[in-house]
């Protein structure tokens, strides 16, 4: 039996650092969001829920929320769909499973800023890889596309994002699929089950837990999305790329010129946290009732 003194001694350092530099700041966010606060070192003025009222009437906030939701939903459908599809393809007995898994996951260990530089090169209208490739196969019309024009930039960014995250969820889902006992498929084969039946009646229910966790992880990642679109947009991030995280940063620290609306920015942080927790609860609910059907 481990004694109390040792328990306390072993836990204290972690609790101190985690509490002081992570949990406490999270709680402060709620408090700060009730103030008008125009700079570190400036006086705070209590304004109650005024910042939230202002958010409600702020066009740019709704735009950022819309973009975040688009990343969450459109990105989520593609990422999960592709991750599942490629798990099945790579697991279908083709040569080089470990190699493909290695390559698919690769973008996740590379610096986001490096990835955004790479995609800037891919999308560049004049010298970019995409347009050069189109020109070299004779697709002159397509090769003149301005991939990062205001109309296209969000979707161009999202495509790159899907490429990054598909590899991440591929390794999670594949780990789940690999745990399914082989004899289940053998039994199904003997019973004459079709591919689709095996997928629907064995693969999906047997990976349900992994899928639930994957959805939860994706929701968290989508709601806090900041780094990739921010680096992709460079110094003057265009509003088409604003996510909640980027708008928070812009209101707190500005782009070129500092803005320093700190209270207002923290209110956006509170919205992000609430959104994340609500979505997690919803997903757990939905996935739980569904799993009872099997």
């Amino acid at each position: 039996m481990i004694r109390g003194r040792m328990i306390a001694g072993f836990l204290t350092p972690a609790i101190l650092v985690y509490g002081f530099f992570f949990l406490l700041p999270t709680l402060f966010t709620f408090y700060y969001s009730l103030f008008d606060w125009s700079g570190f070192g400036e006086e705070k003025t209590f304004v109650g829920l005024q910042n939230y009222v202002r958010l409600w009437n702020d066009y740019v906030f709704w735009l950022s929320l819309w973009n975040t939701v688009m990343i969450l939903l459109v990105g989520g459908v593609f990422i999960m769909g592709l991750a599942f599809l490629y798990t099945i393809l790579i697991n279908s007995g083709i040569w080089g499973k470990k190699f493909f898994r290695f390559i698919f996951f690769l973008p996740n260990i590379v610096s986001v800023v490096a990835l955004s530089a790479m995609w800037a090169y891919i999308y560049n209208p004049r010298i970019g890889l995409l347009n050069t490739a189109f020109a070299s196969v004779g697709l002159e019309g397509l090769s003149k596309t301005l991939w990062t024009s205001p109309d296209n930039i969000f979707w161009a960014m999202l495509a790159a994002l899907i490429w990054v995250f598909t590899g991440f969820f591929l390794i999670l889902i594949m780990a789940g699929v690999d745990k399914i006992p082989a004899d289940m498929y053998e039994a199904a084969d003997l019973a004459g089950a079709s591919l689709w039946q095996k997928f629907r009646l064995i693969t999906v229910p047997m990976t349900w837990d992994v899928l639930t966790i994957s959805f939860v992880i994706w929701v968290i990642n989508a709601i806090k999305m900041f780094e990739f679109p921010f680096a992709f947009g460079l110094l003057q991030v265009p509003q088409q790329l604003y996510t909640l995280g980027i708008y928070l940063y812009v209101m707190g620290f500005g782009k070129r010129e500092p803005i320093y609306q700190l209270g207002y920015a923290t209110a956006i942080g509170v919205v992000m946290l609430v959104l994340a927790f609500v979505m997690i609860v919803v997903i757990r609910r939905l996935m739980r009732t569904d799993s009872l059907e099997f």
């Binding site: 481990i2 996951f105 780094e227």
Partner: protein
Amino acid sequence: MAGISQTAPRRSPLMRLGGRILAYSLVWAWAAFTIASMVWVVLSAFKSKREVLRSGFRLPSEANWENFGTAWTVGKLGAYFPNSLILVTVSVVIVLVVSAPAAYVLSRAKFRGRETLTNVFVLGMAIPIPMLFIPVFSVLAWLRLNDSLTGVSLVFVAISIPFTVYLLTGFFSSLPKELESAAILDGCTDFQVFRYVMLPMAGPGLATAGILNFIWLWNEYQLSLVLLNSPDNRTLPLGLYALQNAMQYTNNWPGLFAGVTIIIVPTIIVYAILSERMISGMTMGAVK
């Protein structure tokens, strides 16, 4: 391998062949795109400025190593490299030193509130990092640690604790209990059990946690962006971001690519050697 499309008896050999070809072409299309674009960026780092603008898909005519020199000296990546290396190494060591004992106690000791405390640690994984920008900045300002690598390393440790504690708690729980009992019967104190029996057995888990945290913190960019203002304190991702912004005006693509190469090569080497361990560490928590 329990393949999903392990062939049913009814499918004809022709269909099987068709399926095989389809699987290969779809998987290779994705993999080829990923490999080609990364390799192309690295290759283009050896081109001259003019070559990048004109040459299309041609290989560099000669190796222009000076792009790396430009990124290293003019782009100051040479100064940011040690910043990153020291900051990340120190942070990873502290994370492990702080998290391993906590995870051990959380997985092995019996005390009231153990589960709640575990959940509080794990909760951190769900908190959106941008939410911390302003309050963490003011905590560091209050400690007079703003705009310092010391301050950032404390924050790095804090944000790495949730995943590390989660991973290590799972790892300690999976170790057999018999050895502990045997060690106690042999007269070991609690601390000796931890130090000489459990910690060595947790070695692989600690290594996995260390590698994953190293990669994440090496690439960490959002909190560094907020917390580090002076150019001298920049980490590699911030330096590369500055290089990319400057590139908009200088049009020095190969210089930017040299910077990209400098920052991605260390992580790719680590990943190439340890990918199996990293991937199993990533998936351990998700697949029970």
